[in-house]
Amino acid sequence: MSVFLNKHSRVIIQGFTGQHATFHAEEALKVGTNLVGGVTPGKGGTQHLGLPVFDTVEDAVQATGADVSGIFVPPPFAADAIMEAIDAGIKTIVVIADGIPVQDMVHVERYRMGTGAIVIGPNTPGIITPGVGKVGIMPSHIYSPGRIGIVSRSGTLNYEAVAQMKELGLGQSSSIGIGGDPINGTDFTTVLKAFEDDPDTDAILMIGEIGGPQEVDAARWAKKNMRKPLIGYVAGLSAPPGRRMGHAGAIISNESDTAVAKIDTMESLGMYVVRNPADIGATVLRAISGG
């Protein structure tokens, strides 16, 4: 099966005809993604990449039965696009935009309440299920089908982990970037739960970073609710407090935000932890071997 994106998913792209969206939609089609159309207000009724373009998400859902949307619109308009997708009944919404105002996300999260929609991102490379497809901007050729689930805040660190796993012959069931912003639509815990319930995932790698309570909250949840092995890494042990390390969410505000504090808590909760970023692949292998 895999999580959030599977062979039954019907995908649309919002902001479809833009330059970046076009490039990444072509890449997604190359790896077999079931892309069924896109939305660009004002261009409804036309065709793009051989697929229908719609004026509204509502029209797209009616015509195609889409249940997954990749949002490629610029940050100032992204919150509106997300809420349009929620309103139209899209179940999985992947938000690539980097730079959405945080108060816009406060509103999006309020709007999403009770709808059952999953918002992945913002500021994420997206989601890939190797062998099935992708909604996002990650280089699909580095991933391979397998039985490890990956969830990370960072994009490139996700790639690093995948490369280390490939050397050891390990592939992925799905890989999900939850994004580097202070407010993400989907947190680590939600993704862990999906992987725990997925029969095609044997173990989960969680890649966090400094700032915020998410990694520790997820580790506490996992301790109570998970049977599958969980491996954790937290980037930024050498980061100084009070400085925003690239990602808006990566800032040490108090003692529990540091990488060391998070890793120590994860370890005390029985997780496999990675203290050296070069050991991510080896630790995953150890975890599934029961070592």
Partner: protein, 400 residues
């Protein structure tokens, strides 16, 4: 983005929040004229730098004569103030705030943050004002009161009353406190602040509430729609290298080590710094070239990293997704030639167009140290560093 205390108070004043009478000045002469204009017999002279802990560092002085206003202002302006947040080099004080001094009866804390766990703006308050709120949270967590605000209806009067009641703002003070909380929330919402803090909110002699110190910071991602806030940015308070980097679309943060870092992606950049640290080294900076890095952007990254005279070697770690290793390599070679770089350069390339990228480096007539993976790159950076200083014994590998 952070702003100065005087700017925060000007903003709060526009929202009807009671702040002390006062004005910012750039010279001791102006300080005297402002103090005379305010009148009274006691004034506060406050150094304006972007840092907490100014009081403890000697940056806040209460004086009771015009001569002292002049003397203290003269002493502060142009001096370097070192607080626990500025680092040892401190910050130059370019201006001071002159305010009417008040007699404090009691102090409270009121703040608004964007809470990551609830994903909402949260009102935080405490009866323990005028001190470090994080310290209060650690020692006496029961004295921190929190109230989550629903963005659909905004901050409600009853929520403010609940909070005011719990921290001991009763009687005639209650309606005053409600007004201040609601206005602070309005100010935060209207201006895309990510944090707004009043510490202390004081009951002063005469029984009124007054904001004695306040701090706000703003969402960089929302500045495009807040031109008035953007204008408050003070480049003197920022590292010039970081300002230049952001102009090139690079994310740079100066650190105090000697291994320069050029990486794509914030997470991988942090992991690279961590790998260097684990090998006993010290990163000189955090630098994220971002996605779609052109050769020119990479060359700019070199220029910024090399402005730091402590840098002895540079480690480049690229895992190209939407980036292209050939563009990165072209930028590296361009920088080596144009900037006449002689120091050891360690390069780890992976991902999109890696073969093309390696070929460009191989034909460049420069002894690049090629690393096969992250660990190898950090190890080679340390070896390069030791080869520069043969007298220093190799450092032991550190573990966390």
């Amino acid at each position: 983005m952070n702003i100065h205390e005087y700017q925060t108070k000007d903003l709060l004043r526009q929202y009807g929040v009671p702040v002390p009478e006062g004005r910012v000045v750039h010279t001791d002469e102006q300080a005297v004229s402002v103090a005379e204009e305010i009148g009274g017999s006691r004034w506060v002279v406050k150094a304006q730098i972007h840092s907490g802990g100014r009081g403890k560092a000697g940056g806040v002085k209460v004086v009771s004569s015009i001569d002292d206003v002049r003397a203290i202002a003269d002493q502060m302006i142009g001096s370097r103030l070192v607080t626990h947040q500025t680092g040892t080099e401190g910050r130059v004080v370019h201006r001071v705030l002159i305010e009417k001094a008040s007699t404090i009866v009691r102090e409270f804390y009121i703040g608004l943050i964007i809470d990551r766990a609830t994903r909402r703006i949260t009102l935080v308050a405490s009866s323990e004002g005028g001190v470090d709120i994080e310290e209060v949270a650690r020692r006496t967590p029961e004295r921190i009161i929190k109230e989550v605000i629903d963005p659909a209806v905004g901050m409600l009067d009853f929520q403010c009353r609940k909070v005011a009641n719990k921290i001991g703002l009763k009687g005639a003070l209650l309606p005053q406190a409600v007004k201040i909380m609601k206005r602070l929330y309005r100010c935060m919402r209207d201006n895309d602040a990510v944090m707004a803090e009043i510490n202390p909110l004081a009951i002063i002699d005469g029984g009124e509430l007054l904001v004695l110190d306040a701090k706000m910071s703003f969402d960089d991602n929302a500045l495009y729609r807040r031109p008035a806030i953007s204008e408050l940015r003070d480049f003197d308070e920022e590292d010039p290298k970081e300002v230049e980097a952001s102009g090139h679309g690079l994310n740079y943060i100066a650190l105090d080590g000697d291994v320069g870092c050029i990486v794509n992606g914030a997470g991988l950049a942090m992991a690279t710094m961590d790998a260097i640290t684990l090998h006993g080294g010290r990163p000189a900076n955090f630098l994220d070239v971002g996605g779609g890095a052109t050769p020119n952007k990479v060359a700019s990254a070199f220029r910024i990293v090399l402005q730091d005279p402590a840098v002895k070697t540079i480690l480049i770690n690229i895992f190209a997704g939407i980036n292209r290793c050939d563009w990165i390599a072209t930028g590296i070679v361009q920088a080596i030639h144009d900037q006449n770089i002689k120091m050891p350069i360690i390069v780890r390339l992976a991902g999109t167009n890696v073969e093309e990228g390696r070929a460009i480096l191989n034909t460049a007539n420069f002894p690049f140290i090629i690393a096969s993976n992250l660990d190898d790159a950090a190890a080679k950076a340390m070896a390069a560093l030791h080869s520069l200083e043969p007298k220093v014994a190799p450092l032991k590998k550190r573990t966390l």
